[in-house]
């Protein structure tokens, strides 16, 4: 049962996170916290002419939240901001089990195990929710951290 949640890919991202740190030039900044479990994720993005060039993450939390943030950084590089919006929506509904996979999602597929562990869905979605809020805020000129309560 545990193996469905903690797939090898997840544990690999957790132990060897990709793109940990801060982007060289910060065009977008997102902060997500889950007060219940103390998870805390900071995302920084470099965007050049609407294309996401670099995504970095920092923070601490459970294996699912950290692996998911690591996967996010790899997923979004090279996308336009619009494409990133669409991708985030799609990934979030995959985690919740509202959507089916119609394309090759790479490592994201490994995170779908959270569907069977409802309390862990918010761990997987934390980084994605935080970035979504940051992108929406930048469109409206606001600045608030995403808090999963």
């Amino acid at each position: 049962m545990l193996d469905e949640l903690y797939k090898e890919i997840i544990l690999d991202h957790y132990k060897s996170p990709r793109n940990r740190g801060k982007a060289s030039k910060v065009d977008f900044h997102a902060h997500g916290v889950n007060p219940l479990c103390g998870d805390d994720i900071e995302l920084t993005l470099t965007v050049d002419r609407d294309i996401i060039e670099e995504v970095k993450f920092d923070g601490h939390g459970c294996s699912i939240s950290q692996a998911s943030a690591s996967i996010l950084t790899e997923t979004l590089v090279g996308l336009t901001l619009d494409q990133a919006h669409t991708k985030i929506e799609h990934v979030k509904s995959l985690f919740k089990g509202n959507d089916i996979v119609t394309e090759d999602l790479g490592d994201i597929e490994a995170l779908q195990g959270v569907r069977k562990f409802p309390v862990r869905i918010k761990c997987a979605t934390l980084a994605w929710n935080a970035l979504q809020l940051s992108l929406q805020n930048s469109a409206t000129g606001q600045s608030t951290a995403y808090s999963d309560e």
């Binding site: 007060p35 601490h60 294996s63």
Partner: protein, 422 residues
């Protein structure tokens, strides 16, 4: 001092844990095909068949609304309901049963005092003292009433070494403006037991009142409000073998007499006209609306069960498990335990962290082995900040837990360590 020995020397009958376990239907079940090892008692205890049957019987054959009923069932329900109040009053050593106010739980009991006592007694310049290790339910109500009245909320810092209360520091903080000291009797994170008699002694010198959050203490150690000298005690039924949705506020009679009602409605009035109302006597002044009758009767049954075991025996069993857990958990290199090491000054609540595993991941792996623990901030974010962690894992024991279950817990922690290092 070998305090374990000294407790045993008092010839307190040892709990027959095998017999106790047979009384709890849920302990005969399996989780993920493994026998349930329930170590989340600080959040809520399980229920013995005696309590379940009492509630079931009440709803099956004895239910009616209480008070003012002419018919047989109503009188019988009222009698049982009021008997439960007497049982609880005796259990905590209150002088009168009308000093027991039924609430939904500890949280509502503290809110009742904060609002009702606070609105009549607090003004700008007055000070309420709480501590860094309070549950949110003994922080937020005070923040709200301080905002309303202009009073100031101050917090007693914890000893930097063992995170116990520094009562010398409390003495320094007290001024004639201190109106209330509201402290946990047993920390829901660290298990630390507060020396309430000393707190009361300090408070008396300054004319301050003392409220104790007894959510964790009343289920686990003998608590006598008269001996402790405290003014208010708040606790919950569901952590002491009773149902959810019922709890108590104990308040000293003269304090409760002076406090205005907390909610208005039926049962709490004496007379009502369209322009004004007069209040019913204690305890009904604070019990508006149809109460949680089955809850009160169920809690009365839980008190019967605990008294049958004997609270000294309950405490001795907890002491035995605590000593065992401290040494067993200490043997796992990656585990750090928070709170005091001395089993005599703590209850059976153990918060800990694993050097390599986040508490949620640890809780998840333990769950797959049938071991139920809690992971998170335990509604004590200021304490988490003080400990420098976002969350902890927490195992908490009760009368039905055994040393072999602690062995299983440790084995499961070790296996989680292997799982995450593979």
């Amino acid at each position: 001092m070998d305090s374990h020995k000294s407790i045993q020397n008092l010839s307190i009958p040892e709990l027959d844990v095998d017999a106790v376990r047979k009384d709890f239907p849920i302990l005969q079940t399996t989780i993920h095909d493994k026998p349930l090892i329930y170590l989340d008692n600080a959040a809520s205890s399980q229920k013995p068949e005696f309590v379940i049957k009492t509630i079931n019987n009440y709803y099956s054959y004895e239910h009616s609304n209480v008070h003012r009923g002419i018919h047989h069932l109503s009188q019988q329900a009222t009698q049982q309901y009021e008997q439960a109040r007497e049982k609880v009053a005796n259990f905590i050593g209150a002088n009168h049963s009308h000093e027991i106010i039924w609430t939904r739980g500890t949280t509502e009991a503290i809110n009742l005092v904060a609002y009702s006592w606070g609105q009549n007694n607090l003004k700008q310049g007055d000070v309420i003292i709480i501590s860094t290790c309070e549950h949110h339910s003994n922080i937020v109500p005070w923040q709200l009433i301080c905002e309303l009245t202009g009073a100031t909320l101050r917090h007693l810092p914890l000893d930097s070494h063992d995170k116990s209360f520094n009562l010398n520091k409390l003495a320094e903080m007290l001024t004639p403006n201190t109106r209330m000291i509201a402290l946990t009797h047993m920390s829901n994170v660290l298990g630390t037991i507060t020396d309430l008699s000393k707190v009361v002694e300090l408070a008396r010198h300054n004319g301050s009142l003392v409220l104790a959050d007894g959510a964790q203490s009343v289920p686990h150690i003998p608590v006598n409000v008269a001996e402790l000298g405290i003014d208010f005690l708040a606790f919950s039924g569901h952590k002491m073998l009773g149902p959810t949705g019922i709890g108590c506020l104990y308040g000293r009679e003269e304090l409760l007499e002076d406090m205005p009602p907390y909610q208005g409605g039926g049962d709490m009035i004496e007379t009502v006209t369209m322009s004004q109302s007069t209040w019913n006597q204690l305890p009904y002044k604070f019990e508006a609306g149809t109460p949680n009758i089955a809850g009160a009767i169920g809690l009365g049954a839980a008190v019967d069960y605990l008294e049958h075991l004997g609270m000294e025996s309950v405490r001795a069993h907890s002491h035995k498990l605590n000593s065992y857990a401290i040494s067993a958990l200490s043997e796992i290199d990656q585990i750090s335990i928070y709170g005091p090491r001395n089993p005599s000054v703590r209850g059976g609540v153990f918060s800990f962290n694993h050097a390599d595993i986040h508490p949620h991941d640890l809780g998840q792996v333990l769950d797959s082995k049938g071991v139920a623990i809690r992971a998170g901030h335990h509604c004590a974010q200021p304490l988490m900040a003080e400990l420098g962690v976002g969350s902890t894992a927490r195992a908490s024991f009760y009368i039905y837990n055994t040393q072999s279950e602690i062995d299983e817990l440790c084995a499961a922690i070790k296996s989680a360590g292997e799982f995450f290092s593979k």
